[in-house]
């Protein structure tokens, strides 16, 4: 590889901050202990390191450290929260409310719950990607045990009205769970302030290592319990057994401490770069559309559709130099375009034409300027190749054509 890869796929995963890597290293060899070994110094050192990390993580989201359950990542945390609540509160009810734009970890866990006799309501979103609060409230029944709404969307960066959702849940005595994977460490996230009782998040989206995540479980008013999905040893207050990933947890803790210090300034810097990128592309390229709310959006994300260009092909014009994601079907095995963008009301054609730019701590202004140049070049190249672009330019009504579906 000649030049440095410009990495704009931070919503997929972030590079581990070197400071987090450095903090982890002693816990691989020098301090080999199992945090559950209570009878020797190696075990005590590991336990102490885990305690420190738990405090750092709890401190970032303003909760008690006893409310942090370590897991292998946000997917496991989502599963533990949804399946765990479903089993634990079976006597109270069997109904869960979520939204169509949730991450697959939530949607697939909900599908599993349905197979086990649960009822799930999937709320639609509007063209900005936001759920309707009245629809949410109307969906609550006396059988509803859980509302699960993500803090910020992974594809569009759209932030849901957490405080309002929390108020509705509190009014009806329903537990409120949130997948906050994309929000924690990047914007202020305070679950107690907005009435979230369970919250899933992960280290590798906030510059910590992969393979470690957490579930916040509210301890008081109400005391929330989840049925464990992993048994064997009763670690993590019986909610998640398994030897703790000590180096991973130490790195996660360090990443949380760094985020608490730096995320305020970092968010301002990234919003500036993101706006520069979005404005730059929109100015050069006609028929470009930003997907989702720009008002309620994460500072480091923009999702743009370039009409009459297919996303994966477009990415191939620059993917030796720039890493990012597309909502195009062709990037997935399913051949279906992004269900999140389709839920916003985008036609399949615009969903196929989308790129997601997610900036991060290590993104520079030079990266952004090079990206504007190369993406614009790619879009123009692909449009020169596109028969639909040619028709559009000739004034043909593309929607009126009878396409051969295949």
């Amino acid at each position: 590889m000649g030049q440095r890869l410009i990495y704009l796929d931070n919503n997929a995963t972030t590079p581990t901050d070197p400071r987090a890597v450095e903090a982890m290293i002693p816990y691989f060899h020098e301090m080999p202990g199992n945090a559950a070994s209570r009878n020797h110094p190696a075990g005590w050192a590991a336990e102490g390191a885990v305690d420190t990390a738990r405090d750092q993580i709890a401190d970032l989201i303003n909760v008690d450290s006893r409310e942090i359950i370590f897991t292998s990542g946000a997917t496991e945390s989502d599963n533990l929260a949804i399946k765990g609540v479903f089993e634990m509160y079976a006597r109270k009810g069997n109904h869960i409310i979520t939204a169509t734009t949730e991450h697959k970890a939530v949607l697939d866990a909900c599908k599993k719950v349905e197979k086990k006799g649960g009822q799930v309501t999937y709320l639609p979103v509007n063209d900005k990607g936001l759920i309707n609060l009245e629809e949410l409230e109307a969906a609550i029944t006396d059988k509803t045990i859980l509302v699960s709404i993500m803090w910020a969307n992974n594809e569009t960066g759209v932030i849901q009205p957490m405080k309002e959702i929390g108020e509705i849940c509190a009014r009806h005595g329903v537990l409120f769970m949130s997948d906050a994977t994309q929000a924690v460490g990047k914007i202020p996230v305070d679950p107690k302030e907005v009435g979230v009782h369970l919250m899933a998040f992960t280290s590798h989206k906030m510059y910590g290592p992969k393979g470690v995540g957490a579930l916040f479980v509210n301890r008081k008013n109400p005391r929330v319990k989840v049925t464990s999905q992993m048994d064997g040893g009763g670690h993590e207050r019986g909610m998640r057994s398994g030897t703790l990933n000590v180096p991973g947890i130490v790195g996660f803790g360090k990443a949380a401490a760094i985020a608490k210090e730096e995320m305020h300034d970092e968010a301002i810097r990234l919003a500036g770069l993101r706006d520069r990128l979005q404005k730059g592309l929109m100015e050069i390229l006609e028929e470009s559309y930003v997907n989702g709310s720009q008002e309620h959006r994460m500072p480091h994300v923009t999702n743009i559709s370039f009409k009459h260009v297919e996303g994966e092909g477009l990415m191939m014009t620059f993917n030796q130099n720039i890493a990012l994601s597309s909502g195009s079907a062709c990037t997935s095995a399913s051949l279906e375009p992004s269900y999140v963008l389709v839920a916003l009301g985008l036609g399949d054609d615009l969903a196929h034409s989308s790129l997601r730019f997610s900036l991060g701590r290590f993104t520079t202004e030079e990266d952004i300027d090079a990206t504007i140049e190369q993406v614009a070049e790619g879009v123009n190249h692909m449009r020169d190749l596109s028969p639909i672009w040619e028709m559009y330019k000739e004034g043909v009504d593309i929607d009126a054509i009878e396409w051969s579906e295949h």
Binding site: H308, V309, E310, E312, G313, M316, S328, A329, C330, A333, L335, P337, G347, D348, D349, H352, M382, D384, L385, S386, P387, I388, W389, E390, I398, W403, S404, E405, H406
Partner: protein, 137 residues
């Protein structure tokens, strides 16, 4: 997903991009796929009225890299062939030549359909017996 050098070459340097006059009697146009499905191919051939050979082939494709490479390759193969020879082009030959991964086989199917569509249009325009069937897969 790592693509073959041949595929990347056709993607980066697509052959025969362009448009022929779709109203000309010697030109056949195949337009297949749908924007909703993420790929649309337009493939055009020009047939010499005397020799009945394909003298020119052009394409434009909206789609992924494999779709663009498949249609570029198809235009390369079409030039110099008779209509009957062109009808014998099988999508699996494209799959093999470009080393398309399994999830991209539909791109080669689309290219074969585009060839057949172009021939069908040419045959219909000229009152010939239509021997091309599109979407036989």
């Amino acid at each position: 997903m790592a693509y073959s050098d041949k595929l990347l070459d056709h993607f980066k340097n697509p052959r025969n991009v362009g448009t022929l006059d779709k109203n000309s009697a010697t030109v056949g146009t195949g337009l297949v796929g749908a924007p909703e499905c993420g790929d649309v191919m337009r493939l055009q051939i020009e047939v010499d009225p005397i020799t009945k050979k394909i003298t020119e082939a052009k394409f434009k494709t909206f789609g992924c890299g494999s779709a663009i490479a498949s249609s570029s390759l198809a235009t390369e193969w079409l030039k110099g062939k008779s209509v009957d020879e062109a009808l014998a082009i099988d999508n699996m030959a494209i799959v093999e030549e470009l080393a398309l991964p399994p999830v991209k086989i539909h791109c080669s199917v689309l290219a074969e359909d585009a060839i057949k569509g172009a021939i069908k249009d040419y045959q219909e325009k000229n009152g010939l017996e239509v021997t091309a069937t599109v979407g036989a897969h």
